[in-house]
Amino acid sequence: MMVEMGKQDIPEKWEKEIEESLCKMLPQVCEANERIKKELRMAIWLGGPGKKDKMRYIRDRIRKILENENFEVIFSEDYSGFADIVSKEKQEIDTLQLAMIMAMSAGSSAEAIEFANDEDLRSKVIVFIPKEYRNGYVYRSLSERHHLIAEPTCFSLKKLKKQDTSDIAVKMLHCAIHHRLDLFRKNRTKEFA
């Protein structure tokens, strides 16, 4: 029976591109990543376009991609939005190791700014932002004031809309893997020091 693919499902093209990007890694690095991913299940806060946003499917796809790589993914909606969260939930967020936010909409940009200003969370935030917003307030504030945007976390919104490219998904997956390697490294360093 043919199952109709929803927009939020990962297209074959994306899967192929993601696999190709991972295959480019040196076999020893792949092996280390495979081993570490079994040992360490890292929780990631994934912010981005909300339910009513046309681009929401991108965030759903990225959630699936990250879950396939053994990350635990948390959406702000699980907490009825960051702005409304109660202190218990805030404590749970504090235990997260990474918050990746796709600042593509007004709501997600506000969330990125809110995280950046939160003294308990700011060091865990990575913001992915369209290159097209480079001259905007959010980009400049996150980049120059909060130092939270690095060149590799920028992507082309125009391309994403027109060609449905996996570019942002590849970048976010690699970023998550990198932070998991770093968390593993940190835990082991503490044992050494």
């Binding site: 020893q28 003294e119 700011r122 490294r185 360093t189």
Partner: protein
């Protein structure tokens, strides 16, 4: 006038005979005895204060942030932050931090390695391993402490914590790691020096945790691991190595791995060091 009175007077505190002061510990100008005193202060006073939620506003006025070289003090900082969301403030005098807004600028991205080089050269501590330096960078990079930098170090270095504790060092030149140290219990001196320390913090520049985080993250990136794995098999000419790692931007990882002491170059060949091999073992 004795050395303690002289040191306090340099901080603007006079008439100490009329103040209530108890000298809990004291060390002569001897590096080993200084270390012993710091360890005792951390273990017998600071850690219990953290457990009792009585650390108060802890501020260190230092020259080279050597307070962080002690692993028990790093534990104090982590505990205080994790349990009560408080950050210990540390003022020092770092080499100039890049003001570049250009994220791709090499100078912007190598500030962390510059600071590491400065610390290693300045501390000259044979007991510290690569893992200690990385742990210090993780501590700041994960935002457990608030770091501030002054253009020039303060003349007298001290720390205040709790309601009445003061750790005071006699005047010493930069880079000299032996000096008289007193650990005092005195409410009026603690109050006065805390106000002084707060005003020093205000005049200093806040150093972003991201400077330190960028550096440690670059050492555990996939590109960095590729460099280390390849070099663990054989020595390779630098250019050939960087071309092999497909990416156009492995220069930063290469540079930072060198600054961390994990790779080295000899007669045009890049090679992994003993420390680099130890570091790589973390991932296996």
């Amino acid at each position: 006038m004795n050395k303690l009175e002289e040191t306090l007077q340099e901080l603007g505190i006079s008439g100490i005979t009329t103040l209530k002061i108890e000298t809990l510990l004291m060390s002569p100008a001897d590096a080993e005895k200084n270390e012993r005193l710091y360890k005792e202060v951390n273990e017998k006073y600071l850690l219990p204060l953290v457990k009792q939620q009585d650390l108060g506003e802890c501020i260190h006025i230092t020259g080279e942030m050597r307070a962080l070289s002690d692993s028990s003090h790093r534990m104090v900082c982590r505990e205080e932050r994790k349990k009560y969301h408080n950050r210990i403030k540390l003022v020092c005098s770092l080499p100039p931090i890049s003001k570049s807004k250009d994220r791709s600028s090499v100078f912007y991205n190598t500030t962390g390695s510059k600071i590491l080089g400065w610390i290693k050269q300045d501390w000259k501590d044979p007991n510290l391993k690569w893992s200690d330096y990385l742990d210090i960078f993780d501590l700041i990079g994960d935002d457990y402490v608030s770091l501030y930098s002054l253009p020039r170090p303060e003349k007298i270095h001290y720390s205040v914590f709790g309601d009445e504790y003061v750790l005071l060092q006699a005047h010493h030149e930069v880079g000299i790691h032996k000096k008289e140290v007193w650990f005092l219990k005195s409410r009026p001196i603690c109050d006065e020096l805390r106000e002084e320390a707060k005003s020093t913090v205000k005049s200093a520049e806040n150093v972003s945790f991201s400077v330190f985080k960028r550096f440690t993250l670059s050492l555990s990136s996939m590109k960095a691991l590729e460099i280390l794995f390849l070099l663990s098999e054989k020595e390779i000419p630098r250019q050939k190595l960087l071309t092999k790692i497909r990416a156009d931007s492995s220069e930063l990882e290469y540079f930072n791995l060198g600054a961390a002491g994990f790779i080295d170059e000899c007669e045009g060949l890049s090679k992994i060091t003993e420390q680099g091999n130890e570091y790589l073992k973390l991932f296996s």
